[in-house]
């Protein structure tokens, strides 16, 4: 009995030791920055009073190190992006105004991440309403937080996770006045009311991304970045709810989703197919390996064939019987 209590206590103690492991993965060079920028407060020497003062940290400057190391730039040093002058403490207040790098500054013409097609993303973004209305004010980081961003659409095998992550990027401004007012002096959009026309609104919000309707879908681009003005957003249900569903070229095109169907190794993937295998569940192999349903698009050909055969036999039976009745009258 005593030994089991001891074991539980040990587990309890170790559980606390395990938690900080992630934050220990932050680059060694960042430790000094992290020391303050993960705390709620910091201490500074006030030259005016000659005293050390403890003050509250601006919550927007507190870094979540767990999310940071999970993000795409988790292995970076802080001064890879921020000025090296930040190494001096107290920091020079002017540094807050330094222009930060955009994605293209590093990734433009970047062969290492050629598959991400950063230059094409830039081209598409240039056409978007964000760019048109807000110009240079609207940077990549408005949606893609450099500290925490993860390429969920490429890595996740869960549609809901991809949808949630993507939509949260939009909602981080469009449903958050603190960020929205940075780029607009308009009133916060009433998302629920604006989308009143959409049947099963909650289901749509949870199962498809905003960008499915609010962008020009590009087959050859992972995520379309040409965000359209709201007047041009798709309002035509059959764009998705049809056998030729647009979702095949957007949400359900990802290879990671296709791999989930478990038989990707048996199928060759041509660019024309646009990784649509997991969406269509057209072959019997795929029927029981899919986790989503779209009215009008999710059809099972075998079942449809059986339906047609039963219908034809029924009608043939009725017609034959009717002919005999007529002849024997």
């Amino acid at each position: 009995m005593l030994s089991s209590i001891r074991a539980i206590l040990l587990l309890f103690v170790f559980s606390f030791l395990v938690v900080p492991v992630k934050s220990q993965m932050v680059a060694e060079e960042n430790k000094l920055c992290i020391e303050c920028h993960t705390s709620q407060s910091f201490t500074i020497h006030n030259d005016w009073t000659g005293m050390d003062e403890t003050r509250l940290m601006n919550p927007f400057y507190i870094l979540d190190t767990v999310r940071f190391v999970d993000g795409v730039h988790g292995a970076f040093q802080c001064i890879d992006c921020h000025s090296y002058e930040y190494e001096t403490y107290p920091h020079n207040g002017e540094l807050k105004l330094e222009p930060l790098m955009t994605c293209i500054d590093c990734h433009g013409g970047d062969d290492t991440y050629a598959s991400y097609q950063f230059d094409r993303v830039e081209e598409e973004f240039e056409k978007s309403i964000h760019r048109e209305l807000l110009g240079d004010q609207f940077t990549c980081s408005k949606c893609h937080d450099q500290h925490y961003y993860t390429p969920t659409a490429r890595t996740s095998s869960n549609v809901k996770e991809i949808v949630e992550y993507s939509n949260n990027m939009c909602l981080s401004c469009h449903d958050n006045m603190i960020k929205y007012q940075l780029v607009s002096d308009k009133e916060k959009p009433q998302l629920v009311q604006i989308h009143d026309w959409l049947p099963n609104q909650e289901l749509h919000f949870n199962r498809v991304r905003c960008i499915e309707c609010h962008t020009v879908v590009q087959d050859s681009l992972m995520v379309s970045h040409n965000i359209l003005p709201k007047e041009k957003a798709t309002k035509n249900c059959v764009e998705c709810h049809s056998s030729n569903s647009m979702l095949q070229a957007s949400l359900y095109k990802y290879q990671n989703l296709r791999l989930r169907s478990g038989n990707a190794e048996n199928d060759s993937v041509s660019s024309g197919e646009v990784y649509s295998g997991s969406f269509q569940f057209l072959s019997m192999n795929n029927i029981f390996s899919n986790q989503y349903y779209v009215i009008g698009a999710s059809r099972i050909p075998l079942l449809n064939t059986i339906f047609v055969l039963i219908f034809v036999f029924t009608v043939a039976g009725i017609v034959t019987h009717a002919i005999f009745r007529f002849l024997k009258k």
Binding site: P199, N200, E202, L203, C237, V238, H241, S242, S243, F288, S289, N290, Q291, Y292, Y293, I295, G296, A297, S298, R299, I300, L303, F307, I310, F311, T314, V315, I318, H321, A322, F324, R325, K328
Partner: protein, 203 residues
């Protein structure tokens, strides 16, 4: 109640239910097919969804009326199952439809005040009204509130399974409708049974 060899078999409440049920089922079939195949021949997709949902709710209200009517009136007795000799009775009726009626034989189970349905009619109606329609209503309401459906069943979308089941049951109701409409033409005259469902009097 009878007059000039006619039987009053279909009271007003039953005829109202039957008419509304028929109307809803036809609308549900057309809109259901329209959504399944995403065709806009009769309805645009969004209209098909709205009309399908409304018709489904109306069908359910009238189904409750049907159940209540069968509980409080004599009509319920026509749906009582009698297993003894069932196979034989069914075979007799099938034989009549397949060959007997062409040889001028009389129906083995003619309509009387105490026997509204022949065995084939009775058990197909029981199957449709007490198994298929409840199933299509339950799955239909589940799809109307998809958040109530189990998310994944062994990695398969619960909504997808429910939708497939709903389609299959709906399809068989459609097949029943076709057969029902045709068999109804087998009466004293090809239109007498249709008239009965309007007037209430069977001839």
């Amino acid at each position: 109640m009878s007059a000039e060899g006619k039987l009053y078999l279909y009271p007003l409440w039953l005829r109202i239910w039957h008419g509304m049920n028929a109307l809803c089922i036809i609308i549900l079939i057309v809109t259901g097919l329209s959504m399944h195949y995403s065709t806009s021949i009769l309805f645009k997709f969004e209209s098909a969804v709205a009309v399908h949902n409304i018709s489904g709710v109306v069908l359910t209200i009238f189904y409750v009326l049907f159940l209540a009517g069968n509980l409080v009136t004599e009509n319920g007795k026509f749906y009582q199952i009698k297993t003894k000799g069932l196979k034989n009775r069914m075979q007799q009726q099938i034989k009549y439809y397949v060959s007997g009626m062409f040889k001028g034989e009389t129906s083995p189970y003619p309509v009387t005040a105490t026997r509204k349905f022949n065995p084939l009619q009775k058990y197909s109606y029981i199957g449709v009204m007490y198994i298929f329609v409840p199933l299509v209503i339950i799955t239909g309401f589940a799809l109307l509130f998809p958040e109530t459906i189990i998310e994944d069943v062994y990695q398969v979308s619960g909504v997808m399974l429910t939708a497939i089941f709903h389609s299959i049951v709906g399809f068989f109701i459609m097949i029943f409708l076709f057969v029902h409409l045709y068999v109804a033409s087998i009466g004293k005259s090809p239109v007498s049974n249709y008239k009965s469902m309007v007037t209430g009097w069977h001839s």
